[in-house]
Structure formats: C-alpha cells, structure tokens
C-alpha cells in the first residue's frame, strides 16, 4: 500500500478538492468540505479499493490522513 495513492483516493471522495492540497499530515476533519457524505464515501472507498472494513469509530479516532492510512494498512 502506498500513501500517495491513498491520498488520491481520499481526495476523490470530495466534490472539488485537489489531491495536491492534501498531505499525509492533513487533519482531514478540519477541512471545510468534510461532511457526513464524505465520511461515508471514505468508508465505502476503503472497502472497495482496499477490501478493509473501517468503522465510524475509526474515522473518529483518526486525526490525519496518515492515521487513517495506518488503520487500513494494519488490516489489509
């Protein structure tokens, strides 16, 4: 698994957000565009692309994209 690809997939879940504006250290829940739809989309994307089940609690505990990536990697 590769973090840059993960960031791209992550950015894809927003309507209008360039992957270049995100980094592994981005505290994603502070983004203006973050919403419940994006959260559900990220969960569904991780299931589809990485075959990993993450929960609402995982999203809650992750601060940065790297945190989320680590959770996914640990279960892949």
């Amino acid at each position: 698994m590769e973090i840059n690809e993960f960031i791209e997939n992550f950015a894809d879940q927003f309507d209008d957000l360039e992957a270049a504006s995100l980094s592994a250290d981005t505290p994603f829940k502070e983004l203006d565009e973050w919403s419940s739809l994006v959260a559900l989309s990220v969960i569904a994307m991780i299931d589809e692309e990485y075959d990993v089940a993450v929960k609402g609690d995982d999203i809650r505990s992750a601060e940065t994209i790297q945190d989320l990536f680590n959770i996914v990697e640990s279960r892949a």
């Binding site: 419940s36 739809l37 959260a39 559900l40 989309s41 969960i43 994307m45 089940a53 929960k55 609402g56």
Partner: protein, 255 residues
C-alpha cells in the same frame, strides 16, 4: 367494567413475518397480549421458538410458528402451505445495507435489498390473496419506513427506494383487495431500537446526536411501532385503508 374494547384482537388470527426479532417480534408479542392468535414466521428457528414460547396466552388462544425465509426462493410456498386463513397480516421482514453513498451502490446489493424489502412482500401479498388465505374484512399492515417516504438521508438510497415501493404497493393492495373488505395500510417508523439500525459506519456519539433530531429526543421502542400496527389490525381502525402512519417521535415534522 363495560367490556367495550374496539382495540381488542380477540378472535383474530394474525400472521406476523420477521417475527423473530425487532419490530416483528414486538408486534407478535403485543398482538398476543391483545388477544390475537399468532402465526409467527421467520427464518431463525432458535429465535422464533423463543418468541413462540413467550407469546401471551391469557385469552385462551393458541399460537403457531412456521419456519420459512420469505425472501428465499420457495420460502413463500413453504409458509402458505402450512398456514391457516388469517384475519390480519403484519409484514415486517426486511434488511438494510448500512450507509452507502450512491456512487458505491453495487448491483448485487441493490438486487438483494430490493428482493428482501420489496419483491418478497409483493409476492407474499400475491400468494395470500390468490390462495384466499386472507379472510374477508381482514387487515393487512406493511412495515415501511420514513426512509424513502418522508426522509431522505445520505447513504440510504437503496433502502429508501425499497421502502417507498412498499408504501406504493400498499396503496395498490388497498385498491385491489377492497372488494373483499380487506383494509391495507402501513406504518412508517423512524429509527427504532432494533438490530437493524446497528451499523458500524456510525459511532454511538453519531447516534446520540441523531436522536436529538427527534422531537421526543430519543429513538423509538419496537413496541411503540407494534401498537400502531395492532391498532390498524383491530376493528378500531375499520374505516382506515390505503394510508401510512408515521411513527417517528416527531422526526418528520421537525424537518
């Protein structure tokens, strides 16, 4: 005491689907307490037997269970083969696919949820009506949902369309079954504390925040839906047909 009670279900036989858990289980329990003789059906033998053993018999009535999966091929045949004619139906069996945004809907998931929440119920009504297993002047109650009817929440498209189709179908049933005096209605619950709403995309904090959107500041109990269904099954609602009753603690009016 006058003994006047148009809400009683004494003397009525009621088929309850999805009777092993959640709203179906509560409906079987409440209807039995109101005097009905229950035909309980579901697919989980252990849980269904448990429900059967807990049904009230204080009006001297007897109950029976028929193990069947009405969603699976042949399941409805299995159910109606062993079934007596009934005076009422509470059709509850259903499924949820959690919270999936539209762009992640999978073909097989779409087919599965529509089968479980819509197609199976169309086929059940068809079979019961065709075999004349619904007595004249009976009452048919579908459990739909506010989802897809009065509420459209992110991630609930598949569930919502499957449940709005139930409401639509209920109205056609009301029209076509009226000739036999059969009334058809539905209940539309909001979030009710059942296993169906346990999805892991939501945290407990999310659920608590969501419950605040209900005027009564809480999710509903299965019995609160069951008693609405029981009213629709009773003679107290004898002039009500073709309608949906929202049972959502004030969620819809607040949105």
């Amino acid at each position: 005491m006058s003994g006047y009670n148009p809400f009683t279900l004494e003397g009525k036989t009621i088929l309850v689907t999805g009777a092993s858990s959640g709203i179906g289980r509560a409906t079987a329990m409440e209807c039995a307490k109101l005097g009905a003789s229950i035909v309980a059906t579901a697919r989980n033998e252990e849980r269904l037997s448990q429900v059967l053993s807990e049904l009230d018999t204080s009006c001297g009535q007897t109950h029976r269970m028929i193990l069947a999966d009405i969603v699976a091929p042949g399941g409805i045949d299995l159910l109606i083969d062993g079934m007596p004619a009934v005076d009422g139906v509470s059709d509850n069996a259903g499924a949820s696919n959690g919270n999936k945004p539209i762009k992640f809907i999978k073909d097989e998931e779409l087919a599965e949820i529509l089968q479980a929440n819509t197609v199976a119920h169309v086929n059940l009504a068809k079979a019961l009506f065709k075999k004349k297993l619904l007595n004249k002047d009976g009452s048919y109650v579908f459990t739909a949902s506010i989802g897809g009817n009065t509420s459209h929440v992110t991630g609930q498209a598949v569930y919502g369309i499957s449940k709005s189709a139930v409401n639509s179908f209920m109205q056609y049933c009301a029209v076509e079954f009226a000739g036999r005096g059969i009334r058809c209605n539905s209940v539309c619950p909001g979030m009710i504390k059942t296993p169906l709403i346990q999805v892991d995309t939501l945290t407990e904090e999310d659920m608590a925040k969501d419950a605040e959107k209900y005027l009564l500041k809480r999710y509903g109990e299965p019995e609160e839906v069951a008693r609405t269904t029981a009213f629709l099954l009773s003679d107290a609602s004898s002039y009500i047909t073709g309608v949906s009753i929202v049972v959502d603690g004030g969620y819809t009016v607040n949105h």
